[in-house]
Amino acid sequence: MIIVGKFVYEPNEYETEKASNSYLMSVVAILAGLPMPIFNLVATLGFWAANRKSPYFVRWHCNQALLSQFSLLIMNGAGFWWTMTILFGSATITNYYLAYIATILLYNLGEFIVTVFSASKTRKGIHVQWWFYGTLTNLITSEKDKKPGYLKYGHYHGNAPSLNSTQNSESI
């Protein structure tokens, strides 16, 4: 479930582009992460390191992408090691194994679709909040500097943003 709405402030072009790019990076990580979950980990750490000082809108969306990547890392990592024990150990191919691979394929596909959707919406400045991940992102994204990038540099004269990141939202 996805909630689409307005962010607490109107992000500028630079912020929407950067936030959208974080989802595009996430798409690449999903494509590479299913066979090699290390890419999910690299993407996760990359997002965190690159955007921890970015404007709130960018940080918020990077964190949402990061959290979803972290879930995939766990799922894909388990699938990867299970496959390794079959290829190089004594485990055999069972219905449970094949069902697990089908499940993580479904989750990766779902995440891929939602990520592409989020990238396109975010690029237009529309705030996209995913079920669970969005709520978690609200919790972990620091509220200090909860203001647009241009305000940080002294060019903003709007109202201070409220605690809720989503305004005038609708669910999809």
Binding site: S71, I86, L87, S90, N95, Y96, L98, T103, W131, T135
Partner: protein, 266 residues
């Protein structure tokens, strides 16, 4: 916070529910995994047999082949196995060894047949190797020793001769797990009982070889690849004592003598 915990639990439960739901599908059958596995085993077995066939002379004399065929036929008839799906080859080599290949093939060295004092000992060894085949121990052993990736590469022709020789060595000269050995022993006893062949032969053969002098052990490969022989022989004897048996001979005494003579002559 409670909302996040609730949503997180729903996400986790949804994941496991999807997994559980998809597990209800018989993917192994849908994706024909067993057929693919069988094809791999057939191919691998053929490639390995080529190596053994080239390294030692295949004994094809009627005096050697027919008695073994009779023993195999009795075990198959008694246990409802399709004999046509099984192969038994005798190779001329002094080593006391027998092993199974992945394509339902049993290979016996002439040295092992010569070391048998009677048909029940030889039938015991055949039944034991058949048990390894029926219980899929051969592939389990190979996967454990070299890994599935190497096996798949070998069957698709992407490996060198060294890898195939290593696979051949693993099958003919390395030991099975103790657990697998005991399982094969128990199964072999059941096969022999159903085939109305004296199962004591397997126990006596194991016990006899375990008592050999260390100097002759180098030729007793079947002992080194089948560990804990003395203890296993005792376990087998205990189980045999509890059985109600009415064994019938398979070979005539003169057929057995001709078999032994054929081995020493050629």
């Amino acid at each position: 916070m409670r909302k996040i915990i609730f949503q997180g639990l729903v996400v986790v439960l949804l994941f496991f529910a999807t997994w559980l739901l998809l597990s209800q599908v018989n993917w192994v059958r849908v994706l024909r995994i067993k057929q693919m596995t069988q094809t791999t085993e057939e191919k691998l077995g053929e490639l390995l047999w080529e190596i053994f066939r080239k390294s030692d002379k295949v004994m094809e004399d009627a005096d050697v082949v027919q008695p073994l065929d009779s023993l195999l036929a009795r075990i198959c008839d008694g246990n409802g196995f399709d004999k046509d799906l099984l192969q038994l080859h005798v190779l001329k080599r002094d080593e006391v060894n027998a092993f199974a290949l992945p394509n339902r093939t049993v290979v016996i060295y002439s040295g092992l047949i010569a070391a048998c004092d009677n048909e029940s000992e030889l039938a015991g060894v055949i039944a034991h190797e058949l048990a390894h085949i029926q219980l899929n121990h051969v592939m389990k052993k190979l996967i454990k020793e070299v890994g599935l990736s190497v096996i798949i590469s070998a069957t698709t022709g992407n490996t060198g001769a060294d890898v195939m020789r290593e696979l051949a060595r693993v099958l003919s000269s390395s030991a099975y797990d103790r657990g697998l050995e005991r399982e094969a022993d128990r199964t072999a006893l059941r096969y022999l009982e159903k085939a109305e062949i004296d199962p004591e032969g397997l126990a006596t053969f194991l016990f006899k070889l375990s008592q050999e002098e260390p100097s002759v052990m180098k030729n007793l490969a079947w002992i080194s690849t089948h560990p804990d022989t003395e203890e296993r022989a005792r376990n087998l004897m205990q189980k045999i004592d509890e059985m109600d048996l009415e064994p019938r001979p398979v070979l005539k005494p003169e057929t057995w003598e001709r078999l032994q003579a054929a081995l020493s002559e050629r």
